[in-house]
C-alpha cells in the first residue's frame, strides 16, 4: 500500500530537508519553525505517546498481578505508586495554587511525594554508583596490555591529583613511579631477571641521588607533582582524545542524518 508505507518516508525526508533549510533560508516563518516550533512539536507528540507508555505500564503490571506471575506481589507497589502520583497530580492537590503550578508548591501532596519518596530514591540510586565504580575499577584497572596500563595510569593519577591527598605525595614516590613505568615498558626486552632487578634498583637510586643533589625537596619541579601531572593529562592528551571523539561523533551523526534525509535509512519506519 503506497499510503501506508511511502507517506511516512516522504514525511521523514521532507521534514529533514525543511528543518535543515530553516538555518539557511531567509524566511522568518521557516526560521521560527526550526528554532522554536519544531522541537516544541516533538515534545507535544512525545507527550501524547506518554499516554501509551502509562497504559503499557498499567497493563503490564495488572497482568502480572492477575496472572500471579513470579514476583507479582511487588507489582502492586508499582501500581500503587503510580496511581497515588496520578491522583495527586490530577484529582487531589491539597493547596489553593491552581492546577499545574501546584506540582511545585511545597505544601501540595504531590510535592510531598516528590520530596520524600521520589528524590531520595533517585539520589540514592545515583549514589549507588560510588560502590559500583569501586568494584568496577577494582576489576577493570588491570594491566592486561599497554592500552589498559594507560587507562589505569591516567585514571589513578586523576583520582589522586584532584584531591588534597595528591599534593602531599612526595617527589621521590613520583620518581620511583616514573622509573617503574619505564621498566614496565622495557620489561619484555630484558630476559635476565637478575639484570633487570639490579638495573631497576640502580636507576632508582641514581634518580633519587640526583634529586637530593638538585634539592628537589625544597623546590620540586612540576613534573614530579601529582596535581600538576594530572593537570597536564587533562589539558593535553585527554583534550586530544576528547576532541577526536567529538569530531568522530559529529561525522557519524552527519552521515546518519544524511542517510535519513535522503530516505536511505528507513528501517526505523518499519520498511
Amino acid at each position: 500500500m503506497f499510503i501506508k508505507r511511502q507517506l511516512a518516508i516522504i514525511v521523514m525526508m521532507s521534514m529533514g530537508f525543511l528543518a535543515l533549510s530553516g538555518y539557511f533560508l531567509n524566511f522568518s516563518v521557516l526560521r521560527e519553525f526550526t528554532d522554536r516550533d519544531a522541537p516544541q512539536w516533538y515534545m507535544i507528540i512525545a507527550g501524547f505517546a506518554a499516554f501509551l507508555g502509562c497504559l503499557n505500564l498499567l497493563q503490564l503490571h495488572i497482568q502480572k498481578v492477575v496472572n500471579k506471575q513470579k514476583n507479582w506481589q511487588y507489582s502492586i507497589f508499582t501500581l500503587l505508586g503510580f496511581i497515588i502520583m496520578i491522583v495527586f497530580a490530577f484529582v487531589y492537590k491539597n493547596v489553593d495554587t491552581p492546577w499545574g503550578p501546584h506540582l511545585k508548591d511545597e505544601n501540595s501532596s504531590f510535592y510531598w511525594m516528590y520530596n520524600f519518596i521520589y528524590l531520595p530514591l533517585a539520589s540514592t540510586m545515583f549514589a549507588l554508583l560510588a560502590f559500583f565504580v569501586a568494584s568496577a575499577s577494582y576489576r577493570a584497572f588491570r594491566i592486561r596490555n599497554f592500552e589498559a596500563t594507560l587507562l589505569l595510569i591516567s585514571g589513578v593519577l586523576l583520582m589522586l591529583g584532584r584531591v588534597p591527598i595528591g599534593a602531599i605525595i612526595p617527589w621521590w614516590v613520583v620518581v620511583i613511579m616514573y622509573v617503574s613505568f619505564l621498566f614496565a615498558m622495557i620489561a619484555s626486552k630484558i630476559k635476565n631477571r637478575k639484570v633487570f632487578f639490579i638495573s631497576f634498583i640502580c636507576v632508582n637510586l641514581l634518580c633519587l641521588f640526583l634529586g637530593f643533589q638538585l634539592e628537589w625537596n625544597t623546590s620540586t619541579p612540576l613534573f614530579l607533582l601529582i596535581p600538576s601531572i594530572q593537570e597536564w593529562i587533562m589539558a593535553v592528551p585527554a583534550t586530544a582524545g576528547s576532541r577526536a571523539i567529538m569530531i568522530g561523533i559529529a561525522l557519524g551523526i552527519v552521515a546518519q542524518s544524511f542517510r535519513i534525509i535522503t530516505g536511505r535509512e528507513r528501517s526505523i519506519l518499519g520498511d
Binding site: F24, L129, L251
Partner: protein, 291 residues
Amino acid sequence: MSNLKQYIYFLIIPLIILIIYFLNPFDVFVDGNQLSFVSMLISCFMIEYFIQKAKSGEEIYMRPIPAMKAMEEAVGRATEMGSSVLYVPGIQGLDEIDTISGIIILGHVAGMTAEYESDLHVPCCVPIVMEAARESCKEAYLKKGRPDLYNDRMVHYVTDDQFAYAAGVNGIMLREKPAAVFYQGKFYAESLILAETGNSVGAIQVAGTGSSSQIPFFVTACDYVLIGEEFYAASAYLSGSSEMIGSIKGQDYVKLLCMFFIGIVFLSSIFNYFGIFVFDIMSLFKINIIN
C-alpha cells in the same frame, strides 16, 4: 555511471548551488552562515558520490569491527543457553540521533533473534521510543518470515526517569538472567549500574554509544564496545547494502578533509604569526550559529 554524468552530478551541480547561494538573489539566504553551508554541501556531495560509486558496483573494503561480529555470537549463545536477549535502547528521546541509531541496530538484532528463535526483551525509557522499537522489531520478524514469534509484549515501557529506569532494567537482569545484553543508544550516569549488573549475572555484553563520558564504563564492564563514530556507522555496516557502505566511505573522506583543514588552519596561523601572508583564516572559521 559514465564519467560525464559523474562530472555533472558531483561538480557542476554543487557549483551551481554555490553560485546561486553566493549571488543570493532576492535575499533568499541568511547572511553569516556561509561556512556552515559550504561545509554541509561538501560533506553531502562527498557522501553521495561514494554512495553512487558503491551502487555502481565498486568493491569497498570495510575494516572488521569485532563488536559487530560479536552481536551475532551473543544472540547465538543466548539461544544455546535457552535464555533471553536483552536490548537497552538508551534513555533519550527519539529526537537524538543516538536513539535513532540504537533503534536501527535493534532492527538488525531482532532479525538475528528471529532467525535463532531466541527471546528478545526490549525495556524502553521513553514511550515514543517504545513505539518506534515495536515498529522496527515487528518488521524485522516479518522480514525473516517469523511474524508468529513477534508479540508486542517484547517491547515495553518501564519509566521515563533515568534512575528508575536503571533500577527497573536492573531488576529485569537480576531476575531473568539474560545471556546477552545490548546497550545501544544514548546513556548517562546509569550506564555503569546497568553494565555492572549485567556483568555480575554473567551476560555477554555489547555496548555502543556516542556519549563520550560513558564509553570508559562500557569499555571496562562490557565485552565489546562500539566507540563513538563506530556506533553510528554500525547500522550501515550491519545492513550490508552497498549504498550504506558507500556512505561510510564518504564519511571517511569527510574525515580526511577535516584533518586537512585542521592542518591548514594550523599552518596559516603560523604563517600569520611570521607575517608571511596576512589572510586571517580564523575569521573564515569563526562560525555564527545565531546570526
